[in-house]
Symmetry: C2
DNA sequence: GCCAAGAGCGTGACCGGTCACACTTGGATC
DNA sequence: GATCCAAGTGTGACCGGTCACGCTCTTGGC
């Protein structure tokens, strides 16, 4: 549609203005839907916009308005199912609100590296969403400039494990109730008749025990069951495999809860290698309900967590901080849901 | 360190300038490492920068320089292992080059929706990386404004399936040689003695046959093996399960190649449900070497693809387009590698 | 002692939008 | 016919950097 055919730079509002025979301010009014513009003028301006293929320059808008309409997600990893789903949820909600989403990966939990990443994120967008399930994420969350007099605070939302005590209003956090989820899963296994349930933990985000661990422990305590030491796993199947090998050799172990489905996969494998049948000899339950959980052999009993809902909620919360007009909590996070499949069953008959 | 304690806005170069008793231009020279600044002056400016906690405003820099130092990754999904790994690779390389990474999810393959997403991405950064393994991605790649006279071209790199013919220089694409990979995997299965190999395909990105399909077909042809129709799967295990159920019922099927590891998982499950032993009765091979492949029971023979390397290469290519000074192809993508595990073996002895 | 060169630094305009304000109309009111 | 108001439009400054240029002051060669 361009008649001159020689335009190099994209059209600005001043180009549109001269094409339509008005001032740049009138063009600004048109693209911002200000009411005080004569309909006929608006028509001419819109025609010029169309003809020149004008698009509002996001950078200039950001400079003038002081807001970039972009948020950054800081995460330790993009490939883990839970992390990736949260990211997807954030992006979905952000897109609906016309926000751009940036991403930063915390490759190391090293203090200065993390601080540098946070700084980079800070001047890339208006706000930050930090996935703080692991040490790197927690460190990042703590490194975010809080509202000290000199430097203005950077709006931030943390996606965290269930906190031990409800955080104050100055701690905008979102979480799924994974303590309750662990409790439910453990109770499920106990109700099948197992004497106790062993636990293979995901790496704790802090030194304190994680929410999942404490939910598991509470269920054991309530049932008066023995409390074995939780085994420390990593995030991936390899960690589960290592832990599983140890557990497989202990004949008293009949039920294992795993911090996530990948760990459970490794545990299943280790049990298989050691000739222990699931669920006939040992029951296994996971966490997350990753897409492959239903298709494993045996299919995995697990607790489904609403990660994308969590991501949407994180964005909604941040959005509300960034714009007072944003709706309040429009994206509820659905509660964890126990999904019973083949990998859990009653313990073997005691001989 | 802020003495006034009342600063609202972050410090600008003019604030630094007056604090150091120089002009804003001198401050600009210091932060850009221009040589013509007296060392003593530089000291004073640096001290002021430190004291005020000055950080260069990325938005203003972008407006003045015309370049945002940001790239956007457009993808159909963030949770699939391959996609997520590519994203991680892009982010890694971008971070090393001090570029920000934005992400856009193509929720639908609908023409206008995709075009809108591309537009959004276009004015969010300097360039685009499109993961074009699926119809939405391919459509996005085609919707990117090419260098027509009116609108300037938007630099874009496509992460694509192995193209049938090497693309011209105006098509900056990266890929792993998945045709060759499929060929190798098929040959592996044939070499074990299978009469032929069935194929469960990932959704084709175009109407034409995918590279993986054609590599598989070539291997069959070379061996003079019968060429069964490929089965159309989806991306996830569910599609593999559906396809697997059909294949399980055909006693002549002894070897199955799957377009990715998730499909293979579904196939394994379907075979198990139908009482067909792997690998004793049927051999299965996957694609990607996702983290769980090694821990399945049986562990999965697959072809490892260097997705993060691919992501790094995509960024490197885009970087070279954006900055002539960027190094040439510093991130080689390693070749696909066959990983033989338990799920493949010789066919059952013919009775 | 004069002039050219270059080191060191400052001023003005600009990138493409926005905001605050002032200006010109036309119609209604008195 | 003068006054007021509101609709409709335009001008200037600004956001926080950059670039292009110009100015001043040494320094060195002749």
């Amino acid at each position: 549609m361009n008649m001159t055919g020689h335009t190099r730079r994209p059209a600005s509002i001043r180009d549109v203005a001269s094409a339509a025979g008005v001032s740049y301010q009138t063009v600004s009014r048109v693209i911002n839907d200000h009411p005080r513009v004569k309909p006929s003028t608006r028509e001419r301006v819109l025609a010029a916009i169309d003809e020149l293929g004008f698009r509002r320059n996001a950078t200039a808008l950001a400079l003038a308005s002081g807001r970039t309409r972009a948020v950054t997600v800081l995460t330790g990893n993009t490939t883990h199912y839970g992390y990736a789903s949260i990211l997807q949820g954030v992006e979905e909600a952000a897109r609906a609100a016309s926000y751009a989403v940036g991403i930063g990966v915390l490759e190391s939990a090293d203090e200065t590296t993390v601080a540098a990443e946070v700084q980079r994120a800070a001047d890339a967008g208006d706000g930050l969403i930090v996935i703080a399930y692991d040490p790197a994420g927690v460190r990042a969350l703590n490194a975010v400039p809080t509202g000290r007099p000199g430097a203005p605070a950077l709006p931030v939302v943390g996606v965290v494990e269930t906190p031990a005590t409800p955080p104050g209003g100055d701690r905008p956090w979102v979480w799924t109730d994974d303590r309750e989820a662990a409790y439910e899963a453990t109770r499920h296994l106990l109700s099948l008749g197992h004497e106790t349930v062993h636990y293979v933990a995901i790496p704790s985000s802090t030194r304190r025990t994680s929410a999942r661990t404490s939910g598991w422990r509470r269920a054991l305590r309530e049932a008066g069951a023995p409390e074995p030491r939780p085994l420390q796993g990593s995030w991936g199947p390899a960690g589960g495999h290592t832990a599983g090998r140890r557990l497989a050799k202990d004949p008293s172990v009949t039920a294992i809860l795993c911090g996530n489905d990948d760990l459970a996969l490794g545990v299943l494998r280790a049990l298989h290698e050691n000739g222990r049948a699931v669920p006939d000899e040992v029951s296994v339950a996971g966490f997350d309900d990753a897409p492959h959980a239903a298709y494993l052999t045996p299919s995995l009993t697990t607790v489904r967590l609403d990660f994308t809902g969590l991501g949407r909620a994180a964005f909604a919360l941040l959005h509300r901080v960034l714009e007072q007009s944003a709706p309040i909590a429009p994206h509820p996070v659905s509660a964890p849901q126990l999904v019973v499949r083949e990998s859990s069953g009653p313990p073997p008959a005691t001989t």
